[in-house]
Amino acid sequence: MAKEQDNILQEVTASEYKYGFVTDVETDTIGKGLNEDVIRTISAKKEEPEWLLEFRLKAYRKWLIMKMPRWAQLNIPEIDYQDIIYYAAPKQEVKKEWEDVDPELKATFDKLGIPLNEQKTLAGVAVDAVMDSISVKTTFKETLAERGVIFCSFSEAVKNHPDLVKKYLGTVVPYGDNFFAALNSAVFSDGSFVYIPKGVRCPMELSTYFRINAAKTGQFERTLIVAEEEAYVSYLEGCTAPMRDENQLHAAIVEIVVEKNAEVKYSTVQNWYPGNKEGKGGIYNFVTKRGLCRGENARLIWAQVETGSAITWKYPSTILKGDGSVSEFYSVAVTNNYQQADTGTKMIHIGNNTRSRIVSKGISAGYSSNAYRGKVKVVKTCKNARNYSQCDSLLLGDKCGAHTFPYLEIENSTAQVEHEATTSKIGEDQIFYCNQRGISTEDAVGLIIKGYAGDVINKMPMEFAVEAQKLLQISLEGSVG
């Protein structure tokens, strides 16, 4: 039995990363390295206003005096920040008509299964695709515009809605927030901008696909979502990258502002190239994601499935400032082979009667290391805060690690904070039970993992849930330790 399980594990872990192709599109890149001139060049290429350049330079100067964080349960090799290309864009100008777009590029997105072709998007998803550094195509713009919803690339937003960008940029993640946030603030190239006006329920789910294509580049995108009072939006994000031997850096920022009675749901399926079986190559995914529930009864929901990246360093957080605001965090993080993940969330309770819920499910296999790191803070003036955290780890193999590092900081006596965590493996009795009923070991494991991750997958929008489910199967099915 053990041998059979090993074989299944072998087969499964041998499954290749299927998004690992390279698209042959001419790219416009600038030279390697980082200095103020590079930042000025990026800013000039994007024809940015003066204030944005100032913002970048401030961030860069701050970054220079910051140190790379080393506190995570990660073994991050030295990164030579001068050996990275900070700007790469498909050379072709963004075409007005989809038909005019470079066929190679179209093929890329077809391969990724992204419903850019509007025919296909009857499913009701508006897509913004970001390749390397610039936004390639945003769909359904007109339909959205009718409702007053702004959904466009970040550069477009800077050009067309400078006041909004200026008002909100850096308000949730300040330019000097942390090492990678400062780096991003200095060199960010593009990303998505979403603005939902007061009282509007966004008629469809908004989606962005990020792809790193060019070699030796880093991707630094920036997403800004603003939901005005009573607004609602569900936003999805997906990521892929080609297979390369060297490591590539991805340092993104996501900022979300949720006003009174508004609700934002942010879902991520992160499937950057995780490196090969020996742990060579792969993306370093160092991301700062943070939301601010600014008004009363604001709601922010994070749902993420993390299966890719060689190293993940990511803590989507929520600042619960408005009274009665609510935030939920659902995460499945899967690591296999030599992947490392240190991920979790932060819930900062400031407003009265704020509630948060954290459900984190880690699955580790191979030689990987998977850590949950989360913080729940209740400030002194916050009354009746409520938090419940559950962090479970599943170990599939005796060479992998599962770690849990919660931090609870409570300063108010009316707070109720609970944290629970368990670590276990799939029990032989569970497998036996399934086998007995004619379910093969492989299916049984799939079933058990499905059940284990179900709490989180169920929180994902439909289209993503299906994709997430598939990803889980690819990464893990059958791998009983």
Partner: protein, 453 residues
């Protein structure tokens, strides 16, 4: 030069100047480690300042005071035995005193089975070099990144030494009372070694008290070796005053089928840091760590534990509970480490806190670091208030609000206290906690000085 740099520099000069004094009474096995330990202390940046392990405890105010250090044994001007009386009635123990970290020279010889050694650390280091070579500074391992432990290794001169040979069962509990008494503010070091050979059994009760009103800073390190099949019950009752700071580190090394059980009862103290490092080296090891802290005023308690599951088939269980009043601060940091191949590990950890005011603070950091797959590990932490439904239940039966609250808090604390196996001690602790909760007393219960701090 201010703050941390000044403090660290003071230690450098103190170490250079006091070296000959420190080495005078100790055996070569002890002195051999001083230089390295002090270098390590400096290499770690001196006093822990904003390090991960001391994240929520600011040591600067504690170390910033102008303390005196005692580098040789000074007889007390009063008979300490007269001044101090153990307040636990009907507890038959063999009593040992230490004063300011020094083994009290007039301790009576305990009536113990043959082969058992109970003496001062200094005396033992000269008399039993082979035991020191085998055990001294072996369990406060190099991997531990705590400068304060290195500091103790560099400076420690005396303390208590207990050796229990193979198969011996110490029937009466051994009570070690650590007293602090001085005319000036005092910084002291104490180093204890407790060795239980194969199959030995013992109960150790450690009490920390202050007998004068000065500021104290005690840095106490205890190394404990629990041999194959040996069993040690360890109780520590900390009842000092607001000016007393204590850094108390236990290093426990457990062999095959050994059992170690500790219970930390923190009733009063200015700043108390309890470090417990347990290494489960061989199969079948078991450890239970319990703790209760009842805090008010500006007390600060930091319970830190690191349980290292090195071998398969070991069990650990950890439960700390606390009640926080006024502007007190409680930190809990517990780490369960399961090394690769430590399969069939069972490890549980829980921390519960009751917050009574908005100026009290709790920081909890329950951690799991697991590198083996066939394990059952869980941890939980809660911060909350008294359960309203339970209160309603009591109120609907005619119990007054105040009394119902008291009952709930007492029950909350009793969860831990009931683990104490020595009945007289359990009754006394219950009684002390009851009094503390009722606000009838908030001081060192047997401190003769009427300090008003």
């Amino acid at each position: 030069m201010t703050g941390i740099d000044k403090i660290n520099n003071d230690f450098v000069s103190l170490f250079r100047e006091g070296r000959s004094w420190m080495e005078a009474g100790c055996g070569p096995e002890v002195n051999a480690f001083r230089e390295d330990a002090f270098s390590k202390f400096l290499a770690l940046g001196g006093i822990p300042f904003k390090t991960e392990d001391y994240l929520y405890m600011d040591l600067l105010p504690v170390f910033g005071k102008d303390y005196k250090v005692v580098l040789k044994y000074i007889p007390q001007d009063v008979n300490v035995k007269e001044v101090f009386r153990c307040a636990v009635p009907e507890l038959a123990t063999d009593l040992l005193l230490t004063v300011n970290g020094w083994y009290f020279k007039e301790n009576e010889k305990a009536d113990v089975p043959e082969g058992v050694v109970i003496c001062s650390f200094q005396e033992a280091s000269l008399k039993y070099p082979e035991l020191f070579a085998a055990h001294y500074n072996q369990y406060a391992p190099a991997a531990v990144k705590d400068g304060l432990v290195s500091l103790n290794t560099a400076f420690a001169q005396d303390g208590v030494f207990v050796y229990i040979p193979e198969g011996v069962n110490l029937k009466r509990p051994l009570q070690i009372v650590n007293l602090l008494r001085a005319k000036a503010d005092l910084m002291a070091y104490q180093r204890n070694m407790i060795i239980l050979e194969k199959g030995a059994e013992a109960t150790l009760l450690v009490c920390d008290h202050t007998l004068s009103e000065n500021y104290f800073l005690m840095n106490n390190v205890t190394e404990i070796y629990v041999g194959e099949g040996a069993h040690l019950d360890y109780y520590q009752v900390q009842n000092q005053h607001l000016g007393a700071s204590q850094i108390n580190s236990l290093f426990v090394s457990e062999q095959r089928n050994a059992v170690f059980e500790s219970n930390m009862v923190t009733l009063y103290g200015g700043m108390i840091r309890n470090n417990q490092y347990v290494a489960l080296n061989e199969e079948g090891g078991e450890c239970h760590l319990y703790g209760i802290y009842i805090l008010d005023k500006s007390q600060k308690v930091d319970n830190f534990s690191y349980i290292d599951h090195i071998a398969p088939h070991c069990t650990s269980n950890e439960h700390f509970k606390g009640v926080l009043d006024d502007s007190s601060l409680a930190n809990f940091s517990g780490c369960i480490r399961v090394e690769p191949d430590a399969q069939k590990t069972e490890a549980y950890q829980a921390n519960n806190n009751l917050l009574l005011t908005d100026s009290a603070r709790v920081n909890a950091k329950p951690q799991l670091i697991i590198d083996a797959d066939d394990v059952k590990c869980s941890h939980g932490a809660t911060v909350g208030q008294i359960d309203e439904e339970a209160m309603f239940y009591l109120r609907s039966r005619g119990i007054s609000l105040a009394e119902a609250r008291m009952m709930m808090m007492f029950g909350f604390a009793h969860d831990i206290v009931q683990r104490v196996k020595l009945e007289p001690l359990r009754v006394k602790i219950d009684d002390l906690i009851d009094k503390r909760l009722r606000g009838e007393f908030s001081k060192c219960h047997n401190c003769l000085m009427q300090c008003k701090k």
